[in-house]
Amino acid sequence: MIPDLSLIVPELAMAVLGLMVLIFGLIIPRGSRHGLGWFAALALLGVTGLVLAGWNNGGNLYGNLYVVDQFSQFFKITFLLAAFLVVLGSMRYVDRHLGGQSEYYSILIFATLGMMVMSSANDFMTMYLGLELMTISFIILVCFRRLEAKSLESGMKYVLLAGMSSAVLLYGLSLVYGITGTVVISEVGKILAMRAPLPLLMLGVVMLVAGLGFKISAVPFHMWSPDIYEGAPTPITAFLAVGSKAASFAILIRIFVVGMFGISLNWELLLAILAAVTIIVGNLVAIPQTNIKRLLAYSSIAQAGYILVGLVTASQDGVKGVLFYAFLYVFATVGAFTVASHFYNVTGSDEIKDYAGLAQRSPLMAAVMVVAMLSMAGIPPLAGFVGKFYLFMTIVENYLWLAFIGLIMSMVSVYYYLRVALVMYRNDPLDSTPIAVSAPVTVTLVVAMAVTLFLGIYPGPVAEVVNNAAHSFFMH
């Protein structure tokens, strides 16, 4: 009767951790909760260790409802690292602008838990629960600045649009369930492999694409993301851009590459088109932006498009590319957003023009920003280049046009990324007071930059790991 819980120790640990942080908040008086950040960060590292410890013993629980393989574990590590970096980078921000440390950190942990569940979920219910756990946590986090009108507005938009999108997603899931008579994704895959696609099933697929497209902010389901990204507290924006996106990609891969594999011909081209449109719109709209967070929001839309490319072929190489890109994307994005949030801490501004002369005020921040952005633009020898390389290699023979679009649009992206770089390096600062960078932020920035550089210069090992993960994904 009692299932083997050893596989989900990290998840249990996260749940307990989240509750603990909340209870600490209830016990510890308001003034003295600054330690919670450190506690949460270290605990997250610990959980990462747990995942790594269980790296090799995969398996599934509850009659294959919950799969623990290297694929999901790689994603879990990605989420945990992202959460760790975000927590480190946001301590100062929380103490200064948000307050309510215990709620903040515990909800952040629960959001991470939701992502972890998503990455291993092998049935629609578990998947949906993970998804909603993540989404609701994010909704709360997005409007965490209760007195900031922008934050509230973005929260409002997020809750309504997210609710709507998840309704659509659910409708699609219910239809798929109705067609196949099961909610276990691998079962669905088996059944669909044999059966010709019914129109109703196609309707379901449409809704799945829409619902998940909303989560990964693929055009035309992206409208929410720039506003929410701008309104949300910056560290949360970073986590939203990284975690929620990566997790949604995890389930997107599971549903489509496993569940819908039999009818892949029906959706391959659709995803290709989505990817193309997403890349184009994201990059184009990023150009005229004047607010750094909005710029990053649009660029992250474009990034989602790049990652989407990996799904098009529904192949092991594609999954490998997605995993690799998701991993490096974490560090680039968190680095950039951490710079943004710290800059906001000091100057209270998100406008790009205020970044003038940042290179003189804080060389580290400027350097990290540039490295992160160039990596996103895919300039060698940075990680982004290798990631894009892996992704686009999978489609060159069948979808060359998509590869071309990706290439051209990365050039376009260089244009607006470099604009920021120029502002930081060439313009003279308005006030040249140097910006002090606190220790945890420094750690975040240095880690982000180092990993981005390392993955670009020596992708070998990670590529190996990712390869195995993708392989394990195709095992069952």
């Binding site: 209870i23 209830l26 129109p199 109703l200 196609m202």
Partner: protein, 118 residues
């Protein structure tokens, strides 16, 4: 591709088109001339007195929220209670943990003063 399932598909498409179309056409066709008369609420021809929106205090909402949460959670208690015998100890422990989490929630709400009437 018109199987009988397809009917549903068409129906759905129609629904979406109607809803979307309503907004779009209204947005396109509606003239923008607004006079003082037009903006007043329509109340059987006579001018309205006082605010047309009777508003509750937000405290009601807070209570509603708490009630909602704790009320919905009972959904899980019923099936468990019905099948209590056959489910056995593990389920019992699980339910205890579940309730424990809820209690923490209550504790939090209390501590945050959601239960005071302000």
């Amino acid at each position: 591709m018109l199987s009988d399932w397809g009917a549903v598909f068409l129906f759905f498409v129609a629904a979406v088109i109607f809803s979307a179309g309503g907004v779009v056409t209204g947005f396109v066709l509606a003239p923008r001339r607004t006079t003082a008369q037009k903006v007043t609420t329509y109340e059987c021809g006579v001018d309205t007195i006082g605010p047309t929106w009777v508003q509750f205090r937000t405290s009601y909402f807070l209570y509603a929220l708490l009630f909602l949460i704790f009320d919905v959670e009972t959904i899980y208690l019923y099936p468990w209670a019905v099948k209590f015998q056959s489910l056995g100890l593990f389920a019992f422990i699980e339910m205890i943990i579940f309730l424990f989490i809820l209690i923490i929630g209550l504790w939090y709400a209390w501590k945050e003063g959601a239960l005071e009437w302000m």
